[in-house]
């Protein structure tokens, strides 16, 4: 009753006469409570507004404007129609960056999943130092991406790079490989770096999913004579399927916007051979000062990333319907 006391004091006369008093006061109190609840939402709403909505909307506006250094200090520039999209998309670099972004994302996810799932299965077994190994796997995830870029740059240098040194010592190559200086190799090197970074994400989430596969199911399958491979394919995978799907969708969103690794390793070079959409948008905006075109590329990137949402819902339609 302490809650109803405060508003009730404003109308002391009516207090005892009205039979519906309790109901009225409860509803008044709940109005209060509702406002109080809304107040608690304010920080979250402000955060979403300033961290997500305003940048996205501003980016969208920018992508339809005729921008130049002269327009950056005013909020609005003349309307440009779809000129920025057209000018960005006719460039050969943009076209190859789009294709490369997709192949890069596909290959990254493929290897991240295969290796990550392998590690998850490994950690699900009992062996000495398992916990230590499990924590070590997370390290790539904890390193700042730019530093990862520099470490890989150091490892894959043509001269005095550790990888070339090892290959030469094993007599596998006679001349050092230009891991970062030949277009094809550079793409592969960036891919390797990105796969390495993404493995912990897959390994950790898939491992925790494996932990939740009911023991009884596997026991039953074992009694029915299923071998290890059959138990993996017929029991484990179907049970953890929802987690695999979530991991893939999130991995897709993370990979499609890869930026730091490319900047740290190759800056999109040599000869644009590692240019993918996010660093290319940065290049257009902050190196060529084509804000409009950079914003257009960002919008395209956003649309691609948003594409993941309906796919996710479609994949989960069964469990969503059940819910």
């Amino acid at each position: 009753m302490a809650r109803t006391a405060a508003p009730a004091q404003k109308a002391p006369g009516r207090r005892s006469q009205r039979p519906d008093r309790a109901i009225a006061e409860v509803s008044r109190a709940s109005t209060w409570a509702r406002w109080a609840r809304l107040t608690f939402l304010v920080p979250a709403v402000l955060y979403v507004l300033f961290a997500f909505l305003i940048p996205i909307v501003y980016n969208l506006i920018l992508s339809f404007e005729q921008t130049s250094p002269a327009t950056i200090s005013s909020l609005f520039a003349p309307f440009a129609g779809i000129a920025n999209y057209k000018n960005a998309l006719v460039q050969a670099v943009t076209q190859s960056a789009i294709i490369r972004t997709f192949t890069f994302t596909f290959l990254s996810l493929l290897f991240q999943f295969v290796i990550g799932f392998g590690l998850a299965l490994l950690f699900n077994l009992n062996f000495p130092l398992r916990r230590v190994a499990r924590s070590l796997v997370i390290i790539p995830w904890l390193l700042p991406l730019l530093i990862t870029g520099f470490i890989f740059k150091f490892l894959f240098q043509t001269e005095a790079g550790a990888v070339n040194q090892i290959l030469a010592d094993m007599h596998l190559v006679s001349h050092p490989i230009g891991f970062l200086t030949s277009p094809g190799w550079a793409y592969l090197t960036v891919l390797i770096a990105n796969v390495w970074i993404g493995i912990p994400f897959f390994a950790v989430l898939l491992y925790s999913a494996l932990q939740d596969v009911p023991l009884e199911l596997k026991e039953a399958a074992m009694l029915d004579g299923a071998n290890a491979w059959q138990r993996l394919i017929r029991v484990t995978l179907p049970v953890i399927r929802p987690v695999i799907e979530v991991v893939f969708v999130l991995g897709f969103v993370f990979t499609i916007k890869v930026f730091d690794v490319v900047i740290g390793l190759t800056q999109g070079g040599p000869a644009n051979s590692t240019e993918i959409l996010a660093p290319w948008a940065y290049n257009l905006t902050f190196q060529q000062f084509e804000y409009g075109q950079g914003a257009a590329i960002n919008t395209i990137l956003l649309l691609i990333a948003l594409f993941a949402a309906p796919v996710y819902i479609w994949l989960n339609r069964e469990s969503l319907r059940r819910a």
Binding site: P69, S73, N124, T158, T181, P183, E219, Q267
Partner: protein
């Protein structure tokens, strides 16, 4: 049944859902923390303090070394000469400066004194957030090397004073050249043959910078500018044979293909000091690195101007260096103090001390003469700056786009993705679509 050893032994309790939820939450927390760290950016503050104290703000990218010392030294001098005035200095890494300046310009909130790399002056001037200096008391353009004035010009007005300048030359390893009985190169033919002769074992004859950024355009500029090439048309013979020279030196093994990855500093200096490059194309900013390695001018290394195609022609190098600019925001009092600050850097004594701390060259011939007495290693660069060219002369605010087209061509030709002529005609088709903003 539980006695059987399962391959999929699990450590958790039967109700694994709870532990999983915690794990997800922990992951979520980590992700959120990382996102917050990634998104955080510092706001800027400006304005004057209270109690008779005035604060002016100053922004630069001199994070370390002599240039950092120089700015701190000057700020102290300035505060001593202006009681009640505080200079609030903000330093950001090189790569962040232009991003930060553009963001602050878009908010109409530039610091009172802004340092800009000279090719960026036109862009920022175009935003209208810089104050032209022409009407400031005591402003003058006389007594400077011509390039230092043209780099500060935008639409007929002066927007900056040079901090100091620099350009590039060829550093060579004296012992290696002496051992091979070679003289330092003055022509392209000599450069090529020297580089070839000096290449042996782990040592390359020459190293230059062909990275995917402005540095590679800047390093090729002396080669085509000295032949009368002009960025208006990059498919001309001047460009063709300049780029061909670089490609040839990579092809015949005199230069490593890693030039595509080696920045001017620290990569090229490391190659030079480790004796894996007998010659490098670089500038005076590497003197502190050479000093630190115990290398002395005229003992371990020598410097010659960038060789020209034919003997005796004038070498035209790009003019490097940063500039001081006056922000348009702030109170009239702050602006006038900021102008005092900038103007004060241009007195002969200050310029000489400032540039020597930075390993840069002064921009006034009268100061240069005095300067060379204490630093003979600057002689070649000082001579070059007399004929140096401002990079923004032709394309003004659009220079970065032209430069991007050029370095793309350089990288395409060196990787062998395309031939020199097709790489350059590709670049030309990009450049012809770029408008000339009057510089």
């Amino acid at each position: 049944m539980q006695t059987a050893k399962w391959p999929y032994q699990r450590e958790g309790r039967p109700g694994g859902g709870v532990s999983r939820r915690w794990r997800f939450m922990a992951i979520g927390a980590v992700v959120a923390a990382l996102a917050a760290a990634g998104c955080s950016s510092s706001g800027s503050s400006s304005g004057s303090g209270s109690g008779g104290k005035t604060t002016i703000t100053e922004l630069d990218y001199f994070t370390t070394g002599g240039s950092n010392t120089a700015v701190n030294w000057y700020n102290q001098q300035f505060e001593k000469a202006h009681p009640g005035v505080t200079v609030k200095r903000e330093v950001v890494p090189f790569a962040n400066l232009i991003t930060k300046v553009l963001q602050e310009a878009s908010a109409g909130d530039l610091p009172n004194v802004v340092m800009l790399d000279n090719p960026n002056v036109p862009q920022v001037a175009a935003s209208g957030q810089l104050k032209p200096l022409n009407s400031e008391p005591g402003f003058t353009t006389s007594g400077y090397v011509p390039g230092a004035i043209s780099e500060c010009t935008y639409q007929g007005k002066q927007y900056c004073y040079p901090i100091g300048t620099n350009t590039i030359g060829i550093f060579y390893n004296k012992a290696m050249l002496a051992a091979a009985h070679l003289s330092p190169p003055t022509t392209w033919a000599q450069l090529q043959s020297d580089a070839k002769a000096l290449t042996k074992g782990n040592t390359y004859g020459i190293a230059f910078d062909a990275t995917a950024d402005e540095q590679s355009t800047w390093q090729l500029e002396p080669f085509f500018w000295s032949q009368g090439g002009n960025l208006d048309d990059v498919s001309t013979p001047a460009f063709q044979n300049s780029l061909q020279l670089w490609v040839n030196m990579v092809k015949d093994g005199s230069a490593s293909k890693s030039v595509l990855q080696w920045g001017q500093s620290p990569d090229l200096v490391q190659q030079f000091v480790n004796k894996t490059a007998a010659m490098i194309e670089d500038g005076p900013w590497i003197f502190p690195n050479l000093n630190a390695a115990g290398w002395k001018y005229n003992q371990q290394y020598g410097i010659v101007p960038i060789p020209t195609k034919t003997a005796g022609s004038t070498v035209v190098t790009p003019l490097g260096g940063e500039t001081w600019n006056l922000g348009n925001s702030g109170s009239a009092q702050q602006q006038s103090l900021a102008w005092d600050w900038i103007n004060g850097t241009q007195t002969s004594a200050t310029m000489q001390h400032f540039t020597s701390l930075m390993y840069y060259l002064p921009t006034k011939p009268s100061v240069i003469a005095e300067y060379l007495k204490g630093g003979p290693q600057y002689t070649v660069f000082a001579k070059e700056t007399e004929t140096s060219r401002s990079r923004t002369a032709e394309y003004g605010a659009n220079y970065p786009k032209v430069s991007q087209a050029m370095w793309t061509a350089i990288q395409s030709a060196i990787t062998g993705t395309s031939s020199v002529s097709s790489a350059l005609s590709q670049a030309q088709s990009t450049i012809s679509g770029i408008s000339k903003v009057s510089g």
